[in-house]
Symmetry: C2
DNA sequence: CGCCCGCATTGATCCGTATCAATTACAAAT
DNA sequence: ATTTGTAATTGATACGGATCAATGCGGGCG
């Protein structure tokens, strides 16, 4: 799904000319919901959490952005969610005006972005099913399998799934509390489906977990 | 958000040439999840429910499509969800190949479609927040206010909100059971926030409901 | 080395929604 | 008019996950 993969060399050069590299330290904010969207980001390193807040403090994480992911496509004027770095994050920032002009000038880049947005929408539908109809164990298993696939696609180890985000982040992504997430991790570990390791888990019974996720 | 609003007359004519009108009776299926996506639809009348199923029968409705809405954008090859008509539905169907060619030929139509997809993604994020973090009453109130706004935007009466879908459909959209939805309707009626009428509700305390939805 | 301090785990109890079970309300069919 | 079928409402109870509370664990720092 990489946007850049479809671009010719001269177009890549154009993109490079527009982009400027940025770095955010752990817990630093990339942007907050409602703020005018002045840039689009392509993550090149680290993990970002994307979330919406209710006035009373309830939080829903709508996604985690990993290297290769785009941020800031899904808004016209203002950001629809907040984003902050979980670990140190590097990214390419494109000023919105330049980005917009480039997109208008390069239809097949737009086509690529549209396909990307469409893919995101499909993932969002899957997450609605998870949040509306799955129980705690199914939610966590789906999450772990999805993260495994994403890291694999990025060429990282697949034996152990890295989890740079906190338990609280996972809870807010899955619509659960931190205690329920912790208990469910323990339950999966006790039934030998996973092994909890520092900063991640090792999946011991992928078939069993896949069945759980499907059913 | 109508796609067609941005098209010049000659382009509208092009679209017309590609489209053929179709009708679906109540409860008829437009397409099912996994089936190869051979067409794109623009709804012109009636209401469609879009949903995903788990193997054990649990259902999550990911959206209701009203007149003006597009279906079939969010997939490359196969439909990512199923769709069926709630009441009699009329639509324009575009063969996928012709649609694809037109999009490639008309960049600003593509731009429009991309904006539409992006808007859908924003709605999906809002729905994640609802499913992950809101209680039953908040969910129903949000739903009613959203439906009110959508009908209003379509130029229909705003005093009474039409609800063509069943209680079960509403439950499966909000991640609740039919009993909880029914009880919550009764609760809102008892507290004089709504008046339940045949095939819809009248909103009596929009301010109070808006506060509930915000908090 | 030992003391925090934030995060994670585990336990006990509570509560909101699910589940199970009638009952009611219509509308269509006979 | 009576039957039948489907959707909605209402009530009683159960249960999964939330909440409240305590303990454990590891890392940084004095």
């Amino acid at each position: 799904m990489s946007i850049c993969a479809c671009l010719a060399y001269d177009e890549l050069a154009l993109l490079d000319a527009l982009a400027h590299p940025v770095t955010f330290g752990a817990k630093e904010t990339l942007f907050v919901q409602g703020q005018p969207a002045e840039a689009v980001y392509n993550i090149t390193g680290g993990t970002v959490r994307l979330y919406k807040l209710l006035p009373d403090g309830r939080r829903q994480i709508v996604g985690f952005a990993l290297p290769g992911d785009f941020l800031g496509l899904a808004m016209r004027d203002a950001f629809g969610f907040s984003a902050d770095a979980i670990e140190t994050v590097t990214a390419c920032a494109f000023p919105r005006s330049a980005y917009s002009a480039l997109v208008d000038a390069k239809p097949h880049l737009l086509r690529r972005l549209h396909d990307y947005a469409t893919h995101e929408l499909t993932l969002a539908h899957e997450q609605m099913l998870l949040l509306g109809r799955r129980n705690a164990e199914e939610r966590l298993v789906c999450f772990l399998l999805t993260m495994r696939e994403r890291w694999t696609r990025l060429g990282r180890s697949s034996a152990t799934v890295e989890l740079p985000m906190s338990r609280q982040d996972i809870a807010d992504f899955l619509g659960l509390t931190i205690e329920t997430v912790s208990r469910t991790f323990s339950k999966l570990a006790k039934s030998r489906k996973i092994l909890i390791v520092p900063d991640g888990v090792r999946l011991l019974d992928i078939e069993g977990m896949t069945n759980l996720a499907a059913a």
